[in-house]
Symmetry: C3
C-alpha cells in the first residue's frame, strides 16, 4: 500500500524502518513483557498506544537513579534511546510491520529528576532522534517532557508513544 | 449491538460490566464533580478521555500523603482501585452504559511518591486489575506509571483513562 | 462549514476564537519553536496533539522555579494561562483557523511543585479558563493535573492538549 513496500531492499531486516535502524547498527528488540497487570501495547481504531517503556535491555536496567544525581545527562540520553527501541518493539508487536505506522504522533517522556535538573529536553532527544531516524518525516512527533520524582524499578527514564496506523 | 447485551441477567446492575463489578461487591459510584474548571470526561469521535481521577469516596480522600512515606504501598493499591472506580463513573457518565466501551486503551497512573519509592507498578495494579475484572479482554490496556512530586489535595494516587467506544 | 464562520465580525482577528480572545485583550502568539528534536504539533486522522508548552513569552520564561517555593500559586495561574496561549499558537499552526477545532478534548497540566504544594488544580485553571473563553462549550475538556519534580528550563508549568478537528 505504501511506496516503501516496493522499494524494500533484498535482505533487509524486514521493513524499511528496520533497514534504517540497521544502518545505525540497531535492531528492534523483543517486546518487553509488562512488569505488571497491563499490556505492552493496544491498538484501537487505528491508534496505537504503547505502555510506558523503561530502558530495559534483556530484562535488566543498565543504570538506576535520578538524572542530575546518580545518572548523568549523557547517560540518560542513551537510556532514552533504549526506551525508544523498546517502544519500537511494542509498536512492531502491535502492527507486525513497522512500515504500517503512518505517524509517530505523540511522545511522552518522563525523566526521574533531581529537583535541580532541567535538561529533560536533551535527554528525551535520545528517543526523539531515534524515531526520526527510523521513520523519517513520519517520525516527527509532538512531545511532552517532564521531570518526575521516581520511576518504576528506580529507572531513570520512561517513554510512551501514541502512533497512528495507515 | 454486542453479544453482551443479549446475555444480560435479569436483575443485574444495568450492564454486563456492572454485573461483574457486583460479583466483587462493587458498584459504580456517582461521577466525581471536577475540583476545578474542567469536565470529568469528554467524548470526541468515539474516543473517551477521562479527567485524572483522585481516590475520592463521597467527596473525601480516605488518605493523604506520599506513597513510601505517610502512605504504604498496600494502602496505595486500594486507593488506585478507588481511582479506577471513579474512572468507571466518568466513563459511564460519558456513554450511559459501560457495555458500550469497546476498549480501555490507555491508563495513566500517577503516584505521589517519596523519591525512594519505586513500586508504582504494583500500586497501579489496583486500578489495572479492576479494569480487567470489569471489562475482561476489553479491559486489557497499555499503561504508563510514574512517581510524581505531589498531587491535588495531597492525594496519593491519580489515574486517567483513554477508552474507545464501539 | 460551521455556524461560526458566517457570523465573523468585520475586522476581527481572523476567527471567532480569536475574536473572543481579543475581547480579553489577548492575541494568539507566534508558535513556540521546539526546544529540542520534536514538532510543536502533529495532526493525525483528525486528532491534534500539541507538544508540552512552557510559559515562554517571546522566547523567555518570565519566572522559573517550583510552585509553592520560589513561585506563588497566583503567579503560576498566570503562567498556566501563557502555556494555554502557546497551545493555541500550536493548534493554529496545525489547522490554520482555530474555528476548525471541534473540541479541546484533553489537557495535561504539569506543575513543577514543592513536595508540599497541592494547588495544582487552581494553577491549571489559568489554562482551562482560557480554553473555555476561547472556545465556549467546545473548550470544555477533561484534564489531568499533577505536580512534577522539575520541568525543562526550570519552568514552573507545562501544558499539553489533545484536540479534535471538525
Amino acid at each position: 500500500m505504501t511506496a516503501h513496500e516496493s522499494s524494500r531492499p533484498v535482505g533487509a531486516a524486514g521493513s524499511d524502518v528496520e533497514s534504517r535502524l540497521a544502518e545505525l547498527g540497531l535492531a528492534v528488540p523483543e517486546v518487553v513483557p509488562p512488569v505488571a497487570a497491563y499490556q505492552p501495547v493496544v491498538v484501537a481504531d487505528g491508534v496505537v498506544y504503547t505502555a510506558g517503556q523503561l530502558p530495559l535491555i534483556q530484562g535488566e536496567l543498565p543504570l538506576t537513579g535520578k538524572v542530575g544525581a546518580e545518572v548523568t545527562e549523557e547517560q540518560a540520553v542513551e537510556l532514552a534511546r533504549q526506551c525508544a527501541l523498546n517502544c519500537l518493539a511494542a509498536l512492531k508487536h502491535a502492527v507486525g510491520d513497522l512500515d504500517r505506522i503512518a505517524r509517530i504522533a505523540k511522545v511522552g517522556g518522563f525523566v526521574a529528576s533531581d529537583p535541580g535538573f532541567f535538561g529533560q529536553p536533551k535527554v528525551l532527544n535520545g528517543a526523539s532522534e531515534l524515531f526520526g531516524h527510523a521513520f523519517g518525516d513520519l517520525g516527527a512527533h509532538a512531545r511532552s517532557a517532564v521531570g518526575v520524582a521516581a520511576l518504576p524499578l528506580n529507572a531513570p527514564v520512561e517513554v510512551d508513544v501514541i502512533a497512528h496506523v495507515a
